[in-house]
């Protein structure tokens, strides 16, 4: 093989590998600037001018309008407390505490971040509308079939995600400082 052909081959291989890794990394979510709190993940710098290039690239590709640091923080869970993917055939209990915030909302989304069609047309709960225990704690049941109490339906089979948004939270600028005990746990109660 001539040196020229070798150089072309090396460049083509490198280009393909570089583009493939970029795509794979962005599909998996930004690798830097992501804070993990138990099953929850937050791109802590997403809503600021000093977001790292990976976080920015993920936002620009997805079309998401991020929350500003002063507005709040969005956390997403794709797994339960034990690290197993969230599946529509299982029942999950989410609770009993949420981090300090004026309001929070919890909603079910598909893997791309969009609400999932369901007969009840209920896509999420606000902190101001749920039933609570006497001590202020709460339990939200996430499942495909109806459940007593705060029931959040999962309309489609397969994996899904939970989005927790904290509005006007003192923690939004310092997501790394959120204690795991302050976030809702996601306990799998059973599977069909």
């Amino acid at each position: 093989m001539t040196t020229f052909a070798k150089a072309i081959l090396i460049c083509a291989l490198g280009l393909a590998l570089g583009l493939w890794t970029s795509r794979a990394i962005l599909e998996a979510g930004a690798p830097f600037g992501v804070v993990s709190i138990g099953p929850w993940r937050a791109a802590a710098k997403a809503g600021s001018l000093d977001a790292d290039p990976y976080t920015l690239a993920v936002i620009e590709r997805s079309g998401e309008i991020p929350l500003g640091l002063g507005e709040g923080l969005r956390l997403v869970a794709r797994v339960d407390d034990a690290g197993r993917p969230l599946m529509a055939r299982c029942v999950y209990r989410v609770g009993a505490r949420a981090p300090a915030a004026r309001y929070w909302t919890l909603s079910v989304t598909d893997r791309d971040g969009y609400p999932i069609e369901n007969a009840a047309q209920r896509y999420g709960f606000r902190s101001s509308e749920i039933l609570r225990a006497a001590d202020g704690g709460f339990a939200i049941y996430v499942s495909a079939t109806a459940h007593a109490g705060n029931w959040l339906p999962v309309g489609a089979p397969g994996p899904f995600a939970l989005a927790l948004r904290l509005y006007d939270s003192p923690l939004s600028a310092t997501a790394g400082g959120i204690e795991r005990s302050a976030t809702p746990s996601i306990a799998r109660e059973g599977c069909a």
Partner: protein, 192 residues
């Protein structure tokens, strides 16, 4: 060629591929925000002209435009273009449980955000300027009678302002929608 030489040539080729791949990867990550054609700004641009207040459809399974949009929030936006001068952005504080006004640069970053807690006389208001417009405005400021305006320097000439209003209960969503529509973006005359 001896076995050792062959091994050396192979190692050089692998290293060259890795270097090209790494360069491609970093270039791709840095360029994605510049070339993304389906980012939030592009998606908003499809909905209407610069300067007009446009309400976003309530997030639902059939409304797949902005991922991770909160179904509990009503929002409206207006795009601004500072090439013709500063833009005054205003929004009324209504009965929504939480409202916030955020300012987004052309490429994903949020450069400023304020919540209804920061409102004065029931209005959230800011004048969006470029760095040179800020200098021009400051040069005209009356020292004895300083401007009461909150001036926010935009990270880019084009961008958009977004008003989010939270409905405390599902039945209050129409009120949140009405509040979101109070957003206005008007050209601000420069002092002569």
């Amino acid at each position: 060629m001896s076995a050792g030489e062959r091994l050396g040539a192979a190692a050089t080729a692998v290293a060259a591929v890795a270097i090209v791949a790494a360069l491609t990867h970093f270039l791709a990550i840095l360029l994605i925000p510049e070339v993304a054609t389906r980012d939030a700004f592009a998606r908003l641009s499809e909905l209407g002209p610069v300067g007009q207040t446009i309400a976003l459809a309530r997030p639902s399974p059939s409304e797949r435009r902005f991922p991770y949009a909160d179904p509990a929030l009503a929002s409206a936006f207006c795009r601004f273009d500072l090439s013709g001068g500063p833009v005054r952005v205003k929004a009324a504080v209504g009965r929504a449980g939480f409202a916030s006004l955020s300012f987004h640069a052309r490429r994903g970053a949020v450069f400023y955000a304020l919540t209804d807690r920061a409102a004065t006389h029931g209005v959230m208001e800011a004048v969006v300027v470029t760095p040179s417009q800020l200098r021009a405005l400051a040069a005209h400021d009356d020292e004895d009678n300083p401007s009461q305006d909150l001036r926010v320097v935009s990270a880019s000439v084009e961008g958009f302002a977004l008003l989010r209003a939270l409905s405390e209960l599902p039945s209050l969503y129409p009120e949140a929608e009405a509040q979101a529509k109070t957003l206005s973006c008007a050209p601000e005359p420069m002092p002569k």
